[in-house]
Amino acid sequence: MAQIVSVIGTTHHPWYHKKTSRPEAELTEDARNLLGWSHRVQASFARTRPDAVVIVASDHFHQFFHNNMPQFVVGRMTSYQGTFYNEVREFDLPRVALEGNRALSTDIIEAGFEQGFDFAFSDDLRLDHACVVPSLIAQPGLDIPVVPVLTNCGAPPIPTGRRFVQLGTALRAAIEGSTSAARVAVVVSGNLSLEVGGPEQMMPYSVDAQFDADAMDWLVNRKFDALEAESTYERLMTHGNTSFQFLNMLTMASMQADMSLVHAEAMKRGGSPAPCFVYEQEEAA
């Protein structure tokens, strides 16, 4: 049976590649922080040696839209292309290819039926920056097969906070019941307060610094009552119109169960800080 060896919570900052691929002398403070974070995650991967990576992330209206909107969809391919043309245009993001673990995908979908999740699935999925950037951060060689689990954090009605907590429990059971991988890392892609296409989009300060601080406390200390109560559409909208991707962090908080918290940080940058978490299974270290 598969073991979850680590759970990583990370930003999918779309300018990650553009900021970090400059010559050393031209790196900004943001870029240095992002590279430091990448090195930290890579060191964790080196310790825990995953042979599959489950990525929990949100599609940004690249493949799913209101005409046919899944709340939770599992990719089920043997390989994935990453990045869409409008992300190349806007972010200078590289087009990438990732191997998939199709058997693990199928195991997760089938286990979902027993775990209270009838997952949608896709055999024709392309990954946007929410999966590509965490992959570049965690495994720049892109050589470990992935299973993308995409959540709806952008098209209301959006599932409740409780549902995202339950998703973590269900995914943990599904992964641990699979024999299609031995050592699984789960990379959860999300944010704290955030605004895209709204009034605070380009500003140098956090959209809501108080929420960022509270949210880190709730996540680190697994305060699920607060996490669920504060994760309604109306509450999250007060922290920016893209704060809904915080919901993925609830999945991280429930999924890490009794693992050791190795690192937790709200990484400073221009704009709202980025959540950075590393949990490792002690025996795996």
């Binding site: 005409n67 209301p156 895209v196 709204g198 605070e200 140098p204 893209t242």
Partner: protein
Amino acid sequence: MPEQSTAQPAGPVTDGIPGYDHYAVNKFLYDTDRNPDLVARYVEDPVAYVDWYVEHRLSRLLDNESEASSVAPLDDTTRTALATYDFAALYASGAHPFVLWTLMLPVIEAKLASGEFEAPLAPDGARLENRAPMAYYRERILPHGRPYFRY
């Protein structure tokens, strides 16, 4: 660079137009932005493109153009806003801010480059990436706060 907001939030969360069905306008924004040829046509001639889109594409199912869609048509106000790049009006009415911004970015970029749109003044400390189009966009949506986009 300030570490915390020095300003109050730009406006309250507002209601957009409660109960208004935004599917048609969001479909236009999403479907156009994901196709570089359609973006180029919208930049080149918005009036002709909106006419064409409504007649030939809005009326068809997404991802199955051989079948008609019963999607509610665009009302005249929204159609005019799309044809005149009046994104502030679309934003205020509750069009989805993500797909709205994502399509308006290449439009504003092109129009700033051609001189058709006047170069904006970016706020102090503002993000460097896409700075000019973001500032142009921000100036115009700012009075409308942060509308709900759930309807």
